[in-house]
Symmetry: C3
Subunit: 147 residues, 3 copies
């Protein structure tokens, strides 16, 4: 056990974490686009800027983007801790880089099929589980390494 | 002030963070179990795989697990940053390990009494506040150390 | 590329992250204050301690604080990863410290105008975007540094 970390592994982590942070931020204009197009807001003070705007929590298009965003909070935010700690379990660079890349690709796909171009299942389920399995694998590695 | 970190303290952090990451992931099958048993889903494309499934946001059993999951996002996700930064405040290993262990135990208990075997209050309130006080203690230490 | 980090930059990160962690924790008593004053709770087992309490999800004052808290999860939690990784992009101390300070101030203001003393827009929008632009700037730096 130690807190030494391979520079290449950490660099791969930083790069893919940066991509995922950018992806999460894209949820903000995606939500705003739906809010302004459907004229649906959450706070009364937000309705004054748009003619005909109202407060509502049940617009299907707005709620779809918000569910995708919440799913990111539930999966991508833990990944920042998981992948960081995984860097300290002495993984091979190729393995670590591949895991980070697969997770990142799967989560970008998840957003696309959930909130941008909704498609029938199992597209979303597959992208969700691919990312989740990568994360479960890393969590198991962390626990067994630091136990 | 410095960014040196004790290897044992960091190892304890990594171990308990791993346990908490695993605990958070358990929320996913816990939610799925309720959704499939109550046949209640959030997106229309999810209802095709289960006969009699419908879209709803008010099933008490499903919402209970989702509230427990949201409570994890509000408390465990900040802990990953709090406990990490606390490692850099030169804590004694025994103190740090105890704080991480108490927080982890309290949050596992919180999930059990909230979402797995719901019991009357104050079981959930106690587990919630024990974890919160641990976190508040560490945040105070971080601010005073790095001020 | 490297994982060397400037001690002063990391210390500034730790300090402002500590302030933001404290700020997020304040959401808990802010929510509780509204729940007990409006006697509105989310779980049936919570209503036994307060006379006249009921379960509801549509109280405007309670929901306002909860939206502010969710907005923190969407913006401050990613910041802990963003600002941490930004420390490894060799920023000047003055720049890094200023960015952390502006983000922290903007998010404290966001909570004040959203959940404590609600004021008309654009107060909340301005504080939201100031913090978001700081974060976007750091994410771009991370991706370009580690690409």
């Amino acid at each position: 056990m130690g807190i030494d970390v391979n520079q290449e592994v950490f660099g791969a982590y930083a790069f893919y974490a940066g991509i995922l942070l950018a992806k999460m931020m894209v949820m903000i204009p995606l939500t705003a686009r739906q809010r302004f197009s459907k004229k649906v807001f959450t706070s009364p003070e937000d309705t004054s800027s748009v003619k005909g705007a109202k407060v509502a929590y049940d617009d299907p298009d707005v709620e779809r983007v918000r569910r995708a965003h919440l799913n990111d909070l539930e999966n991508i935010l833990p990944f920042f801790a998981t992948a960081f700690l995984y860097c300290f379990t002495s993984p091979a660079y190729g393995t670590a880089n591949l895991l980070f890349k697969v997770f990142t690709g799967a989560r970008i796909l998840h957003t696309l099929v959930y909130a941008v171009f909704p498609v029938p299942q199992p597209a979303r389920a597959i992208s969700f589980f691919v990312a989740m399995f990568v994360q479960v694998y890393m969590v198991v590695k962390i626990i067994s390494h630091f136990a």
